[in-house]
Homo-oligomer: 289 residues x 2
């Protein structure tokens, strides 16, 4: 036990993200004991039963007390409050990290609250499915995925190195990036597409020119395209509230392209339409290789 | 041979759509001979080799001459010209149908060109994948899918009935609808999502604030969401040109929802954001059941 990378890991929020990290580190023999902390007893019991965690508690202060590493995997808007309570009860030298989808506002809110001797490393594993809860967790979720860590001027180098090794052991390729860049890139590749999908489904689903539900006519393309519109509304409300500026920049950018396309449709611009679609196809085909 | 539903079928454009109908009717014993007509010899040879068709020709007039049913499965903008040539060489009483994604402008262009005694039934099987060519065809493509037929005031009832039976034998559930309604519903559930996906990929893919290609950071969600942006630019140019009014109506509708969401993001309207996402999730979850 004493020779493993993380003798005691505390996971706050034992769902897909938190549970999968615990399972990955267990599978690699890189963790001693895993303490699961959450508000719902049923989910904690399920996590115990499935072997995702070794011990469960609904008491955050108690759960983090002896941990060497505390991983916060709760919704973005709750992170500051959870981090403040956790940090106040962690042992000297322990490391706090998180998996929140937004980093700038989170890091700015958490860092001033940290007691001396508690190290914080803001992180974001780029992985997930639309499922949730301890039952959704699996050891290979992070295999082959990227994990972005966003150290700030206050981040301890030793703590950063440990968190990096943790994600590498979980199978991820770790990228370091400043928080602003992280938030802009995620706004582009993740937050904007969710806003687009939610808007599209609302626009089409509320179209009431005909009596029947026109979504009944949709085929596989529409269902695949709109899968992300089934994502958790609370999670996405939090992201929209905490990454506002970067998200607005990308929403305006997308609006401009859509408006250009609409004008080409209106004016029957055959060549411009072809060129618009072809350019998009090339960009998209390049990422699926 | 003489007792099957379609003694001789001619398929113009032996790709995913045309080839799959031929295979489905062959599998059901509902067709005698299948004649494949196309411009590319290599694709026709492949179709012969795979047993999708029994005979191949690059000469449209010759290919349709003895056919009882001619199925046009070529790009939307080519349909009128192909239909005119085919109809001029078909035998009296033969039936012409198509699989074009837009129906109003197609039916309006083709009907005045038909010689007396040649029956036209506009149709649209709602099925497809992003693949193309004879190799992509398979007998079960239409199983469990809808096929919309859009008879007009000029459509012969007997011809309509035969085409309906053909699609039912191919495994589809046939829906009759007027052309305008078809075009508006397809604009909503298919054409609009493609415009949105193409715009999104262009907006994100051309974002050049950072040196690297930010699409490299995209995970499965982005790839799934943008799959339809890899669709054939020619096909989508044709659809955008031929279903302009219905498409513009839906694009403006989508813009309005997106603008509403953007204002809620700008103003940090937590409750409105949650409600917007929740409504979309409910609409989308209802279609995947």
């Amino acid at each position: 036990m004493s020779t493993c990378l993380v003798p005691r890991l505390a996971v706050v929020g034992v769902g897909l993200i938190g549970g999968s990290l615990a399972l990955a580190l267990k599978a690699a023999g890189a963790v001693g004991e895993v303490v699961g902390i959450g508000r719902g007893r049923a989910n904690l019991d399920k996590a115990l039963e499935l072997g995702v965690i070794d011990r469960a508690t609904q008491d955050l202060a108690e759960g983090v007390r002896d941990a060497d590493l505390v991983f916060l995997a709760t919704p973005v808007l709750s992170l500051t409050e959870v981090a403040a309570t956790a940090a106040a009860h962690m042992k000297l030298g322990a490391i706090l990290t998180d998996g929140g989808s937004v980093k700038g506002s989170v890091a700015a809110a958490i860092e001033p609250l940290l007691p001396v001797g508690i190290h914080f490393v803001p992180g974001h594993p780029i992985a997930g499915t639309e499922k949730s809860g301890a039952e959704a967790a699996f050891a290979t979720l992070y295999h082959g995925r990227r994990c972005i860590l966003t150290p700030t001027a206050h981040t301890d180098i030793g703590a950063l190195d440990l968190v990096r090794r943790v994600w590498e052991i979980a199978g991820s390729s770790v990228v370091l990036m400043d928080v602003e860049k992280h938030d802009r890139i995620l706004a582009a590749i993740s937050h904007l597409p969710h806003m687009v999908a939610y808007s599209l489904v609302n626009a089409v689903g509320s179209y009431d020119r005909y009596e029947e539900n026109i979504l009944e006519y949709s085929a596989g393309g529409f269902r695949d395209f709109t899968r992300i519109a089934s994502s958790d509304p609370t999670m996405w409300r939090d992201i929209a509230l905490t990454n506002r500026d970067a998200l607005l920049e990308m929403m305006e950018r997308c609006e401009a392209f859509f408006a250009e396309l609409k004008e080409d449709v209106r004016n029957g611009e055959a060549d411009k339409l072809y060129e618009f679609f072809q350019r998009s196809k090339e960009l998209r085909d390049a990422i699926v290789k």
